[in-house]
């Protein structure tokens, strides 16, 4: 809001007498007209909804009809609600596991692609494919694989533990979500790591090899420090995206079995639109927002410390 007021006041800075000054005034005005429509739309569809969300979180609004101001009651109830704790626990566990796995897989594949291999372009193209596909639709394919194919394979191999669908098992369903998430997200991270690996100068490897470094030592003390900024970017983006997991859940488990895989986003959607908990879930969303900001800041601090200072 303050930005709008700030901007509106000095815009009609009156025309000056000299020609050059008038032209400068004119250019200035053009710049204002360039940002004005976008600013208006941004206020209308982003800032106003955020403020509305915060406002509704302080009421008992059900999504329709009248509502009363209830102060911080919703927030107090959130902290006493087992469902909420469960969904945060699931979401963070899932996001951390998926982030670590995605980055390990992506880095390994990128290292392979960066080696002296044939068909590099084609293989790179294949590995990036999951990134251009809809998570929801791929999720439905994986749903079938987990429900029918995996148990059939397990039966062939005589693994009794996997003879049922993992998505129907409250203790294992999250593994299915992780597999889909890693399969889809690794594609993007591979490309970023590949870009990072190409910035490492070839002669540094040669020097390290001449000094008798093994390939693990070369990776550990030459490659990794140099691509640290790319690790930072990937970790931050992955964690941020996985914390908001929704499509994966909608396609694979609908939050079940029971509430075993109900992520925070899924709970906000479901409770807010179908469960008559509009105000309650907006409060949940505000808390979630604060969590994401805190995690991002924390993560950037930790990871930045490990980067090479140049």
């Amino acid at each position: 809001m303050t930005v709008l007021d700030d901007r509106a006041a000095p815009a009609p800075a009156g025309p000056r007498s000299t020609a050059s000054a008038r032209r400068r005034g004119g250019t200035g005005r053009a710049y204002y007209w360039m940002v004005l429509p976008a600013l208006a739309l941004f206020l209308l569809f982003h800032t106003v909804p955020v403020l509305q969300g915060i406002y509704y979180s302080l009421t008992d609004y059900a999504g329709y009809g009248r509502h009363d101001f209830v102060g911080l009651d919703n927030y107090a109830s959130l902290f006493r609600d087992g469902r909420i704790w469960e969904s945060y626990l699931f979401t963070f566990q899932f996001a951390v596991v998926a982030t670590v796995l995605t980055n390990l897989v992506a880095l390994a594949v990128a290292l392979g692609l960066n080696g002296k291999i044939k068909f590099r372009g084609t293989l790179r193209g294949v590995f990036f494919t999951p990134n251009v596909l809809s998570v929801l639709i791929v999720g439905y394919v994986f749903h079938y694989l987990f429900t029918y194919s995996l148990p059939a394979i397990a039966e062939h191999l005589g693994i009794g533990a996997l003879s049922g669908s993992i998505l129907a098992d409250p203790d294992l369903a999250w593994v299915g979500v992780v597999v889909l998430a890693v399969w889809q997200a690794a594609a993007f991270n591979i490309i970023i790591y590949l870009a990072g690996l190409q910035t490492v100068p070839e002669d540094l490897y040669e020097a390290a090899t001449l000094d008798g470094a093994t390939s693990w030592q070369r990776f550990r003390s030459v490659t990794l420090p140099l691509i640290a900024p790319f690790v930072t970017v990937n970790m931050v983006i992955s964690l941020r995206n996985f914390l908001q997991v929704f499509d994966h859940i909608a396609a694979l488990t609908s939050g079940g079995p029971g509430t075993a895989t109900t992520s925070v986003s899924y709970m906000i959607y479901n409770g807010g639109f179908n469960g008559g908990e509009y105000a309650y879930q907006t409060a949940n969303a505000v808390v979630f927002f604060l969590c994401i900001v805190a995690v991002s800041v924390f993560q950037l601090r930790i990871l930045r410390r490990h980067e090479v200072n140049d």
């Binding site: 739309l41 209308l44 999504g63 639109f273």
Partner: protein, 276 residues
Amino acid sequence: MAAPAPRPRVNWWLTGLMAAVSLTVLVPLYFTVVTALKTPDQLGGTGFALPDSVRWANFADAWRLTAFPDVFLNSALITVGAVCLTLLSNSLVAYAIARNMHRRRFRLLYYYFVSALFVPFPIIMLPVVKQTSLLGLDNKVGLVLLYVVYGLALNIFLYVGYLKSVPRELEEAARTDGAGTWTVFWRIIFPLLTPMNAAVGILTCLWAWNDFLLPLVVLSEGEQTLPLAQFVLQSQFNTNYPVAFASYLMAMAPVLIVYVFAQRWVISGVMRGSVK
């Protein structure tokens, strides 16, 4: 890269290993294709076998069931609208901000837009649905506007970063020739932004085409995008998996076909958009 001297020896072991690993990507796609071609009674077992007899009618059934032409057109219109409007508007805003970073007001505006990167969608989700239906924008037009607005944060960040490296001499020369700010932008800056426009265009395209949550909450009954149609029809596919998979395949096909032909371009665009 450009060393013409002795070609480095190809590591065939590694090549074989990478090809084997790439099967993890290809197998689910293969699975989608073979399942879409089967009759229901050929299902069962692991499902990886090739079909004995091909049932092309699965595609015709899926076509009718999902009203494919309508849904495809919706997805296409939304994606094209979002990409065009995003390119034209976001680059313009970024230009105005980048050339005025020394003014406090524009610098504030920059941080105001970019800070939206930290705002997760769930906090906006419930109120924005009220907002769009109140304004009669619970349709394709509204969705296009939302993609343009929600893309601003990242795109402004990308464009402003890129504009710092665009030399100002051309602009200043044009200005001394009497060109106004708008002319300078459209005739000089916008063409110079082409690499970044490609990156932003590709990222926006993939996002708008594959997005599920925003169409799910914003579009009113009756209008669907391709992913949304798969979601809505889950109950109607019932257990007729071949028809369902034919429908999934048709929904994936357009982007896959474009990707096969424009692969290099798509990857370099995404790379430029993420590494700056």
